[in-house]
């Protein structure tokens, strides 16, 4: 690991970018590699903060977003070309965010690339006397362009992880009426229609049966006719037998008292 840091030092010194700060930062990259941070409890950034506090360089802790990715699913190997693409994406993100077109690919420095494919990276600012861009700016830039960076590597928020940048989870798509209410409404209408249909047909059948049964009763009564002297009693029952129709009709001619 020391060899890679010193390699980088040599490379940067070629471009005149070396400063005491930068060297120490890279040196710290090496140190943090030796001191394993517990991923859940403490982020690497905070370990770095502690170390920096020890050597009196606070606050510089926020400058080093770290990246880790899971490439197994994407079927490509991580090599120098992919690193180049990554640097290009970070430079692109910085350009879009701060709308300065001065960030070059050479401004993005990766260090400590492991087999796991996790590394630290730093963005320098060549216009301002070789300082690093503050971590918060880098984080904001990456957050803004997270989607583009993910897609460039065919990865997702889960497989491409920036240690200090929590992804905002996308909210679920919610339709205006919940789907279940629609299905409920449909089923309810069908059931109610069925019940109403059955009840009405039952009432109609009941009425028809009642009518039929009363008709049948009437028929039965007519059949049971009692005879007297050969004349049906019913014929004798009509008023014609008791009241003389001629006189009864005359009553109407006279005015009533």
């Amino acid at each position: 690991m020391l060899s890679s840091a010193s390699q980088m030092h040599r490379m940067l010194s070629k471009y005149g970018l070396v400063s005491k700060q930068l060297w120490e930062i890279m040196h710290l990259c090496h140190i943090t590699k030796c001191v394993k941070a517990q991923r859940m409890g403490q982020s690497r950034i905070s370990i770095l903060e502690q170390l920096l506090a020890e050597i009196g360089m606070i606050p510089i802790a926020e400058n080093h977003p770290q990246m880790m990715n899971n490439l197994l699913s994407t079927q490509y190997a991580w090599d120098a070309n992919e690193e180049y693409l990554f640097k290009a994406m970070v430079a692109f993100a910085m350009r879009r965010y701060s709308s300065k077109s001065t960030t070059q690919i050479s401004n993005v420095l990766l260090c400590n690339v492991t087999d796991r494919v996790s590394f630290w990276f730093v963005v320098t600012d060549s216009s301002k006397n070789v300082t690093t861009v503050p971590g918060s700016e880098v984080e904001a830039a990456i957050r803004m362009n997270r989607n583009r960076i993910n897609n460039a590597f065919l990865l997702s928020d889960k497989t491409l992880q920036f240690l200090k940048i929590t992804s905002t989870l996308s909210p679920p798509v919610e339709p205006s009426t919940p789907v279940w209410l629609i299905v409920f409404g449909v089923v309810l209408c069908l059931i109610v229609a069925g019940i109403v249909f059955l009840i009405i047909s039952g009432i109609r059948k009941h009425k028809k049966k009642n009518k039929e049964s009363t008709e049948r009763e009437n028929l039965e009564e007519k059949v049971e006719v009692t005879l007297e002297n050969g004349i049906p009693c019913e014929a004798l029952d009509i008023k014609a037998g008791h009241v003389n129709g001629v006189f009864a009709a005359d009553d109407e001619r006279f005015t009533s008292l």
Partner: protein
């Protein structure tokens, strides 16, 4: 002119009605649990013995009584002996309690069914918390399926005392469930007879689809092997035999009066002996069939969880030690763990608490029964299948068919005595009586849609029917064998079917079944007395799991009331008849 009794269109409708009633949710969610707890494949031995000793004889007895007396439960027992009208009333009361709470299950099935038409399924992922940085806290602690059941379906309160308000979504689903039941029983046997064709056969179609799907799932074989390997040492455990007897007893739905009601609509010459054997065999076969499906689903779910656990551990190790992708796999996990422990002892020690020991056995050992199995375990398995919406719809539709089939029997048990009694039937048409019964049950059922409703549901589920049914069936058997007389019963069966019951039936009716029921009764009583205070499982939202709590005083009073309301009907009925007869005799003697 007396209206003739409505009849089933053909004997097939009667058989389907009995199957639809007997094959219910208990076959799906209780039998697999018992199989798992009491010795896997070995449980089938006590189960089949109890079927022969208790299931078939008691079923034949009830069907024969109903077919002979051609009345609902109250009328039928009155004919056998006027002092036994209390038995019929007790059956109606128990059926009433059952229909009150059973339809809530159908409401839940409707809820899940309606929610199955979404992508992704709502119980597949946790909802986000308010500031969208992570998932809901409660959902994080437990799984998304449990969260969906306890929070979004039930919205359960932390204890029985905190009643909360009625959940309008559940109330709507409950109303719909009762409307469906009303639609099916509206016209009596005419409508019920058509509906049971669907409710009896559709569950089998879905079970076959699930069997094929289940057996082809990855990891299903693990479940089947684990569950079905017989652990014969469980046979020496008395609880095994008691559970087998209880399961047969309650699975067939004896004592509710539903079977008597169904049989009363039969032609008098119907061969109910053959039908009794067919129905009990189909019921048991369905239980075994459903448990094969359930165990393959268990195996799939356990394997899935086991593999996710392993993958999580692998990811953890890869991230912590910056190892290359693919260097740690499921096969070399143990060796890699030892190697890392040796090479980086400090870091590994720091990481150790998070590295879980993934065990397939532990996953398979989680035995679940009841609503937990039906709604949590199955939905968890479904969400991991391909095309989960289809399987979800099929599964909850099957649950619905099973539940409605059982509800038809329950409501028939309540309605048949009501429509038989001339006092009520002459004044109101059948539709009105059914409507009133459904409406009253729906209103009372709203209790179970409150936030604490699931706790009340558990009370009703555990205590409303258990002791009372045992007593009712015991009195029934003794009444038929000793009060009515087994010879008279034999003669009745001979006139109905044309053959006398052989020695097997008579021995079972007269000796074996009553003894079995008495022993079950004694066991249950001693169990209740020995456990002292009754406890229940309450959902703790802060921990994301169930905790045990004691029932408050008024809940215990309700339990006592439930048991007393039905069991007291039997002696009270005898007493009332006795007093009435005395008064009549006195009146006659004074007149004379």
């Amino acid at each position: 002119m007396e209206k003739s009794r409505p009849l089933w269109d053909n004997p097939l409708q009667f058989v389907f009605a009995c199957i639809s009633y007997a094959v219910g949710l208990g076959n799906v969610w209780r039998f697999p649990y018992l199989c798992q707890m009491y010795g896997g494949g070995g449980f089938l031995i006590p189960y089949l013995i109890m079927l022969i000793a208790e299931g078939m004889p008691l079923l034949y007895l009830e069907l024969a009584v109903g077919q002979r007396m051609r009345q609902g439960s109250i009328g039928a027992w009155k004919i056998i002996s006027p002092y036994l009208c209390g038995v019929g009333v007790a059956s109606v009361v128990v059926s009433f309690f059952l229909s009150m709470y059973y339809n809530v299950i159908n409401a839940w099935a409707f809820w899940y069914l309606f929610h199955s038409f979404q992508d992704p399924l709502p119980w597949a992922t946790c909802p986000l918390n308010s500031n969208r940085t992570g998932y809901e806290e409660e959902c994080e602690k437990t799984s998304s399926t449990q969260y969906f059941w306890y929070r979004q379906t039930l919205n359960i309160s932390p204890s029985l005392e905190a009643s909360g308000s009625v959940q309008w979504e559940q109330a709507l689903c409950l109303t719909l469930a009762w409307l469906v039941v009303y639609l099916c029983i509206l016209r009596g046997t005419a409508s019920t007879g058509k509906v049971v064709y669907v409710t009896a056969s559709l569950p089998y179609c879905v079970l076959i689809i699930y069997l094929i799907r289940g057996l082809t799932l990855h990891g299903a074989v693990n479940g089947l092997i684990y569950m079905f390997t017989p652990k014969l040492e469980q046979l020496s455990n008395p609880k095994t035999w008691i559970s087998a007897a209880t399961q047969i007893f309650f699975s067939l739905g004896l004592g509710f009066g539903s079977l008597i009601a169904f049989a009363s609509y039969n032609e008098p010459t119907n061969n109910c002996q053959r039908h009794a054997i067919i129905v009990s065999l189909i019921n048991s076969t369905t239980s075994i069939f459903a448990s094969i499906v359930t165990f393959s689903i268990y195996g799939f779910k356990a394997t899935f969880n086991y593999e996710s656990c392993i993958n999580k551990v692998i990811l953890l190790l890869l991230n912590a030690f910056d190892l290359e992708e693919g260097s740690v796999t499921a096969d070399n996990l143990n060796e890699m763990k030892d190697y890392l422990m040796a090479t980086y002892p400090q870091e590994y020690a720091q990481l150790a608490p998070q590295i879980k020991n993934c065990s397939l056995e532990a996953e398979l050992d989680t035995a679940v029964q009841g609503t937990g199995l039906a709604f949590i375990v199955y939905s968890e398995a479904i969400k991991n299948m391909e095309v989960p919406q289809l399987y979800s719809v099929l599964y909850f539709f099957m649950l619905l068919m099973l539940g409605i089939g059982s509800m038809l029997g329950n409501t028939a048990a309540i309605l048949t005595p009501l429509t038989d009694s001339r006092a009520i039937a002459s004044r109101f048409p059948k539709e009105v009586i059914s409507g009133v019964v459904c409406f009253v049950n729906c209103i009372i059922g709203l209790i179970f849609t409150m936030e604490a409703g699931n706790y009340w549901f558990d009370i009703f589920n555990d205590y409303a029917a258990t002791l009372s049914l045992l007593l009712i069936v015991l009195v029934e058997t003794i009444a038929v064998c000793y009060i009515y007389g087994i010879r008279r019963f034999e003669k009745d069966l001979y006139t109905m079917i044309g053959c006398k019951p052989n020695w097997y039936w008579k021995t079972m009716w007269a000796f074996v079944s009553p003894l079995l029921i008495i022993s079950l009764f004694i066991f249950y009583l001693t169990d209740y007395i020995l456990t002292g205070t009754l406890q229940y499982q309450a959902w703790d939202a802060t921990q994301g799991q169930l905790v045990t709590k004691d029932y408050p005083g008024y809940a215990l009073a309700v339990i006592g009331l439930l048991v007393a309301a039905s069991t007291m009907c039997i002696p009270l009925g005898a007493l009332v008849t006795f007093i009435r007869k005395r008064l009549k005799r006195e009146r006659i003697s004074t007149v004379a």
